[in-house]
């Protein structure tokens, strides 16, 4: 399987940190008996030859192959059954304490922003020995990696969780919303949230709804290439998001990522209008049915606004309100040829409170699913979105659509992921009647009023 992220690091981490990569039992036992640990220098004899190197953790493929790092830096694998003898040559050298850099006093800027780290590629550091990644987002790490950040604003970085974005949950949204709310109360001028990219647009939608009456920018940022490589997009994205968080005239929840495959600029998308549209490209995030609201020319330290009047302006005096509850019994279902209506029946049986359907075309469902949908509408809120991604839902054009309306399905003119988050949020904070109204109303810019030629 090829991980469609920047790298396999994420899988590796799961293995190396949570399960510990183990060699086959027989090997582990032998190593323990010899007092050999990963990181020790060993000598492995194989027939008449021998190899010297540092014992590496097992890669997650063949547990019966010993991996050592040779003096020239290369790793090789040696089959356990070919090994005649193993000796320990040297205990792992405890890393020499890092050269203590003088804790430089940050210049005092007019603006102060917080960087909240939640995990993901952007907030990870590579362990050069194993190639695995580990979380790293101390202030020190951050400024060492990207010294340019010091020149932007007073920055207070903090790790609030360590979660790969594919594992995000409603609890994480609640925690994130509360943390953001607290930072606002502290009086910061902007907030940057470092986040894994897979589900960043779900999180940005969640915060767009959970924190109402927002007077400052809250900017989600991630990386598609891990920061171990010189080509990582992490630095450009972080610099741009910090510039936007501190300097932008706009308030709201945004996503700030590469605008193109080049390093010229980052695009700033409204948190309820963006979607990850590519598995691996730097410019994976695009505003759907709309322009990005701004672009950050990070080298010139300039922000170009593309849609100032579709977003609220910065106003630090605004009193934000927190609505951080999410209903967990909500599902997002894709309709397709051969769709089995039992899936919907099952959700109702399990007393789901909300279902977002991703219909075909303008928001259609197979006729033979109608019965299940009608039944669902009696017990839950059912919303319709379009799996086309681009364009709008419209249930008035064909009779299948009109039937859905008649059954009580609510057409949602927004991205399916946003509708899903919005429904969970609405059900978590409001009454059923209010929810029906909220789902049709533009709460956080999720409904694009005019879709233009260029989008």
């Amino acid at each position: 399987m090829c991980c469609l992220k920047g790298s396999h690091f994420e899988i590796l981490l799961t293995f190396s940190c949570k399960l510990l990569v183990m060699y086959a039992r027989e090997i582990e036992e032998k190593l323990t008996e010899l007092g050999i640990k990963v990181g020790d220098k060993i000598k492995v004899s194989k027939e008449e030859k021998y190899y010297e190197g540092i014992l590496m953790p097992r890669s997650f493929y063949n547990p019966d192959v010993l991996v050592i790092k040779l003096a020239n830096g290369y790793n090789i694998g040696i089959e356990w059954k070919n090994i005649v003898k193993i000796e320990k040559v040297e205990e792992e050298k405890k890393k020499v304490a890092r050269v203590e850099r003088k804790e430089e006093i940050q210049e005092k800027h007019e603006k102060t922003i917080s960087i909240l780290s939640t995990g993901g590629t952007i907030a990870s550091k590579v362990d050069y020995r194993t190639g695995g990644v580990r979380p790293a987002m101390t202030a020190q790490d951050l400024f060492e990696a990207i010294p340019e950040l010091r020149e932007i604003a007073n920055i207070e970085p903090r790790t609030i969780m360590q979660v790969y974005s594919e594992s995000m949950n409603f609890e994480h949204y609640e925690k994130m919303a509360k943390e953001v709310f607290n930072e606002i109360k502290k009086g910061v001028d902007g907030i940057v949230i470092a986040h894994g990219t897979d589900t960043m647009h779900y999180s940005s939608a969640a915060l767009s709804f959970a924190v109402q009456n927002l007077g400052i920018p809250v900017v989600f940022v991630g990386a598609q290439r891990s920061s171990d490589r010189g080509s990582s997009d992490a630095a450009v994205n972080l610099i741009s998001s910090c510039l936007f968080a501190s300097q932008s005239e706009l308030a709201g929840v945004f996503i700030c990522m590469h605008e193109s495959m080049s390093d010229y600029a980052c695009a700033v998308h409204l948190g309820t209008r963006a979607r990850k549209l590519h598995a691996s490209r730097r410019d994976a995030f695009k505003s759907v049915n709309a322009k990005p609201v701004a672009r950050v020319l990070w080298r010139e330290k300039k922000i170009e606004y593309l849609c100032k009047d579709c977003v609220n302006l910065r106003d630090k005096n605004k009193e934000s309100e927190l609505f951080a509850n999410f209903e967990k019994k909500v599902a997002l279902i894709k309709l397709h040829p051969g769709f089995n209506p039992e899936i919907i029946d099952f959700l109702i049986e399990k007393s789901y409170k909300g279902i977002v359907l991703e219909g075909t075309g303008l928001g259609h469902a197979p006729e033979y699913v109608m019965h299940a949908i009608r039944n669902a509408c009696e017990h839950a809120i059912v919303c319709m979105t379009s799996q086309c991604i681009f364009g709008r839902v419209n249930l008035n054009v064909y009779y299948t659509g009109r039937d859905l309306l008649k059954a009580g399905v609510i057409p949602c003119e927004m991205l399916p992921e946003v509708a899903f988050i919005k429904l969970a949020w609405a059900l978590g904070n409001f009454s059923e009647e209010e929810v029906k109204e909220i789902m049709r109303k533009n709460v956080a810019g999720e409904i694009v009023e005019r879709i233009l030629y260029g989008e």
Partner: protein, 487 residues
Amino acid sequence: MGNEKLDYEKLGFKCGIEIHNRLATKHKLFCKCPARFSKKEKPDFIIFRKLRAVPGETGEIDIAAEFEFLRDRDYFYHVYEDTCCLVELDEEPPHEINREALFIALQIAKMLNCEIPDEIHVMRKTIIDGSNTSGFQRTAIIGMNGWIETSKGKVHIPTVCLEEESAGIVEKMEKKVVYRLDRLGIPLIEISTAPEIKDPEHAKEVAEILGMIVRSTGKSQRGIGVTRQDLNVSIKGGARVEIKGVQELELIPKVLEFEVRRQLELIRKGIKPQPETRVAKPDGSTEFMRPLPGGERMYPETDIPPIRIPKEFIASIPLPETWQEKLKRFEKIIGKELAEQIVKSEYCEWFEELSKTFEPKLVARTFTVILKSVKREGYNIALLKKEHFSEIFKMVSNGELAKEGIEQVLKALCRNPEKNVKEIVKELGLEGMNKEELEKIIDNVFNENPELVKEKRFSALMGEVMKMVRGKADGKLVAEMIKRKFK
């Protein structure tokens, strides 16, 4: 620089070389793009990138990496859609390693008497001069602890690596470097020797032998820049200097001697030579490129699973004919001297193929003596294609072109590679004379020189005729006709 002869042993001369050779596989090493240069004249688009120095394991930034970062260069990449996909753009993870390339690399490792790891691990070697869009080069050890036999004893081969070729430079300025991405990712074989090379001439011999071994797989790309030699050299009291990018075998001894003399000169002036990477210039001198990179530039490429190499598989890999065997076979057909030249030549493969149809000695001489002379005059012989040669040989064997005209035709082809051989022969007026015309000329010469005819002065008459027909008629044919006329 002095010209006194150097005693390399006394100077503590230490030298190891690395040769790099692009492989002629169907696809690139980590994606399905064709492993060749683009056929397009202009790039389809250009992307702009910055690269950053990344701290290594100890938190220290590699000195070579920092050097590049501090230059704050802008990198531009020319993207050609016929030879580049998202993998070259560092916008998609690498695919699995190219099995064809791996097979060739294993063949080479076997020929170099290497041990082959049970499991091959692809690594990332940090490089941030922009030549790799990712900021690192993917590389794997395929063979270890091998050796070759040379005229000055055994030279060990610590490693044989299979790696991805870097991007080619289009333009380099102080703050901006432009690369083309078609070359990036072509499989590259890297063979390193131990620092056991005795002197500059020995270095050339070692490079020659390694080149012959790689070419014997029949899967080496050809042309300028396909083979590159890096030379590592130091002397007592000096420093280890890595000289990159020596493309010509002939240049190796010169570059090494220059470097030794440069270090000696520094030492004489009381300056300690610094460990550094230098780049070779066409005249054999070198210039500073960057500090020598430190260690720890290597960490695992976790996007590519390790590759298990079963013993039985290694045993089943067939070995091509060795260069020594080839030499013996050629000696019988074309003699020792030509055979020695042709096995060392990049054109060995073409020779094999074309000598089946055409006169082997002529083919061998063309690929060695004649081509060398064309190249010496500054012609870009990389432009010559196999089809050019086979057409030339065909015309010669049909009597449409004299052997003596080959050199002129090749030079003209280098100037106009898009023209075909027939056109060029015609333009140059080298179309072979038919026998009747030749007969007429010989008759004339006989009539004008009755004395010589009477005394049967063969070579004098031959000289007279050749004066008039050189390049248009084959000397052998002329000789035959004169002899016949004597009877």
